[in-house]
Symmetry: D2
Subunit: 336 residues, 4 copies
């Protein structure tokens, strides 16, 4: 194939993070968009100039000009989409997580393996320039052997309670990105997880059976100790940072801002708030991750975020939740 | 017209700053690309998916699907392109400066006026989020009445001597952007200019009759005092900052960086160098300026950088050069 | 009394953090210096112009011109010094910790109570402008109700193994300052502590039965979750920061530097390393804490760091150690 | 002599910048304080524990225990004090400027020369850690050969008009520090000065015949171009920075702050204002400069800021004023 033909499965919010980077790129084009809502599928075509749409997944998967699919449905439909796409021999980019239970994930991964198609999971933050620079510092030995890792990951504001109820819980919905970051940065397996969590933002979140504030401690096989700090509300905006102490130095990242201006007056020395919306904050990483997927397919390279990389953060989420519920550190081996 | 049909006149380096933002935007498309070099015109089509090309400006200007032209030729051909485009009734986005002498500029502006087409000059930095924030602070009264302004504008490295020789001199080639910034930020006319300049980077630049290091002092009608600091070489990268002191506060901008990571080890606390290439540094402003041009044409609004705005910085450049040569402050009224 | 007469008990390293701030202040003077080493006592007099010295604690405590003592002996002698000073009716500033076991602390506190003298414990960091500003932000409601707290506290390099062996362990020697900080910042009791710790800096520290790297999680009664990050080695210097997320905002502190210069060249944009030595880093807080002690005595006010404030961090240290040994969260009530 | 006996001539405001660093230092002590006001002299003794005072300069200069004098009178009395002290064979630390006219300065310098005593002028900023670091970078070649220099020097608020009237004018009162900084940093003579100045802060300053806002351009013999930015009012506090671009890099300094805390909320990311009062901002440099003076006398070394160093900034001030009045660049050689 010269350019990779992409089919979108699901044209909701998150699909807008990917679509602009696939429109008439040198290496790919959007062949067809599918959504169960005809309106959503048509809106996609209008916005991105895509020529074909359908409300029928099977129809999309039957198209010859679709070489690969980008799965952007709600989480509950990921597994099914992956199974069908694999059966149709299409390469798959799937938003995280593949599923909320391990059995479903394992079925999907087996199907992908069997079909011999490529699968990449949408952990886009690996492609963010800030976090990529931290990874590079570790790989290059710029900070020596890592000893302590901190991930700060706070949303500007909590989602609607209706979403909280179907989200799979904060550990699976929000922390899962940080679990992947924890794996991306450190070359060792997390063996044990301890969680301290509660509700400090909105009692309704607690009533929905979830938490909104958490501190997760990660114990790695190689002795590194990590923490993840999560909160559903950071009044100053989207807060996304990491910090690693190593034997020779440390590296830390700051947030991204809409401008680099500092204003000083009789009250304070200040700057405008950091970027608030995840699509603004992670524009570059979203562009980079689909480019990497397209490259992996076109050049038959392993995808940079494998199905296995999609599975482990779910195990970590389950361990974190179990630790929270039982008030004790939980070994990963207790989960499966 | 539904979408604005764009014709490129000149497909060299700078045209790549504009073209990506006009490819299949919601409001515009590239109808045709013209370059005296067939290779350059074809390369454009290859890269941006443009369907038509020509080496003949008249042919491009005759096309019905070309509503507006983007003039990216070498400076020496700007005037001619503007005259012909105006005669053909096409709206014009023209890279700065229109010409190096005022008579030529005035002829071009008269032609534009007569034709009743829109003209926007490519002073893209007005659309940069950092400088726009400074302007906003002044407009909003956040710093009170401005008193002192400093513009720092340094290139990472000098251009080839061959370019220096045809550049019109540093004041016309490099400082011209800063003259526009000086006008954009402060709501008052510059009345007098004093220049202190010399050669500190490369003697060959001096031998070519130019300077590579300059400090220009601007005296505004309203009492504001400004400076422009120019150097053809900043070893740490492209340095583009402004700072304004007002009666109630001050605002200053920092450079833009490829990432927000800080590395600390036994030697220093440091970050990677600022963005080095003007197209990386000003990506956002290039996108914003053509969007503003398209919007001005489609909605029949005045362009945000008029032909007059293109003329004054040339007057300032001539005054700066005269001041440098005569070793005294020069009034704008001495130039014309 | 017009000026407070101070007697130093112990003239070793840490006493140099206090003495300069008591020499001929408007409110105090050093009446006499005692050290078991005649050389140390004499060296003090030479350096600070103190007129009297002795190697006999009883003799110092018998002096009429000694209103208050500053106890700077090794930790093992603190309790004894406090008991004798209280018996002699002298006010007491005592370096932390009073003792490593709670029974000894309780005996000392009882003696102080009985004697009716004032006691202040040397948790100087409460008086540091950075941490005081964080406390102020919380007290003023600038960040709303705290939810997450992080304390980063890393030494530039580990102490000699000989010191490690008698230090009482990292939690009692180093973390104890951070336990106090955790109490100073948040208006709630810590109820439970979980520790993840190990040896990443020097195996000899492990062989000595201690750890050199730790992450301590604090669960407060009011739901705040805190962490303390400790390491015996930060290659870039002394790292002392805190960060608090609240319902309305967040506050964080950076390190202190010897200068505010930034150097940019072809390699990086960098600054010199942070202050490396605790006496340089905390000069201001050492000055502030003795001034507060002198003020409390002269004006009969409660000391800002009470004997009780000296006891609780020891309980926390014991809980942190127990958690580390048993691999589980430990409630403060398990300790005593 | 073992310790240097200091006599203060003048016990007003600025003398409090020096006195604390001379009280019972290891190398010096204050032998006697003189002020024409008995109250001021007594207040000094009360505050600093000095044993002797007088209202008679001759009496102070006659004392055997006075080895050196620190001249802190109003500027108008500096010359006289220097002449008498030199005649009495006392070493002299004199606040800047020695006098406002060159003839008076030259008489004073001749007297000092003849007497063979040491003279140091109070340009304390050379001893500030920020500016010293900039000088070090230049000396060490960290930024290569300097090309452009910027000094920003703004007061928080203008002095009373009564002071403005006797100050000698802004160039002599305020800019003089920056003229010295311009000489301290760059190893070359300033040959020509151009001034653009006006009144933007308070019309009453203009009515008093002075300016409150100025931009001074310095042309050095070696081709370096410098600027000094002065304003009598910076609403955010005392603004004291420098920035130097060299052939290999650049160095710049930021302001000094009371703490290193950053607060983020729904409005902005901000920190408290910089240090506002010159004695807080320059505490360290005041301490360093008198230590250097004491060292120069005790060890018979040249003082780090000579009488000549005190003379040139006055020449520069006269040139800056002449340039302002005549609206043209003025050569130093035009002044004398």
């Amino acid at each position: 194939m010269s350019r990779l033909g992409i089919g979108f499965i699901g044209c909701g919010g998150i699909h807008n993070a990917h679509a602009p980077h696939l429109v008439d790129s040198e290496d790919a084009f959007i062949a067809c968009a599918m959504d169960v809502s005809e309106d959503a599928a048509k809106a996609h075509c209008e916005k991105y100039g895509t020529k074909h749409w359908t409300t029928d997944r099977a129809e999309l998967l039957a198209r010859e000009d679709v070489d690969a699919v980008v799965v952007c449905t709600p989480t509950g439909f990921h597994k099914e989409a992956v199974l069908d796409a694999a059966a149709a021999g299409k390469h798959i980019f799937c938003e995280k997580p593949i599923a909320l239970d391990l059995a479903a994930i394992d079925r999907a991964l087996a199907a992908v393996d069997e079909a011999g198609v490529k699968l990449q999971i949408g952990f886009n933050r690996r492609f963010d320039p800030n976090f990529a620079r931290v990874r590079q510092a570790i790989v290059n030995g710029e900070i020596g052997a890592p000893a302590l890792l901190h991930i700060i990951s706070r949303d500007p504001a909590p989602p609607p309670i209706s979403y909280v109820k179907v989200s799979g819980g904060m550990f699976m919905d929000m922390t899962i990105h940080d679990f992947d970051m924890a794996r991306f940065l450190i070359d060792s397996d997390v063996e044990e997880i301890y969680t301290q969590a509660g509700v400090t933002v909105d009692p309704a979140i607690g009533e929905a059976g979830d938490v909104d504030t958490a501190l997760v401690v990660l114990k790695y096989a190689n002795g590194v100790i990590g923490t993840i700090d999560n909160c559903r509300r950071a009044p100053y905006g989207y807060d996304q940072r990491v910090e690693v102490l190593g034997s020779k130095g440390a590296i830390s990242t700051a947030n991204n801002y809409p401008n680099a201006a500092t204003l000083s007056d009789g009250v304070s020395v200040r700057r405008d708030l950091p970027l608030n919306f995840f699509m603004d904050r992670y524009t570059e990483s979203f562009a980079n991750e689909v480019a990497a997927f397209v490259d992996a397919v076109l050049n038959d390279r392993p995808t940079p975020v494998s199905g296995y990389d999609g599975r482990i953060p779910v195990v970590m989420g389950l361990a974190a939740l179990k630790s929270h519920r039982e008030g004790r550190p939980v070994k990963m081996s207790e989960i499966g």
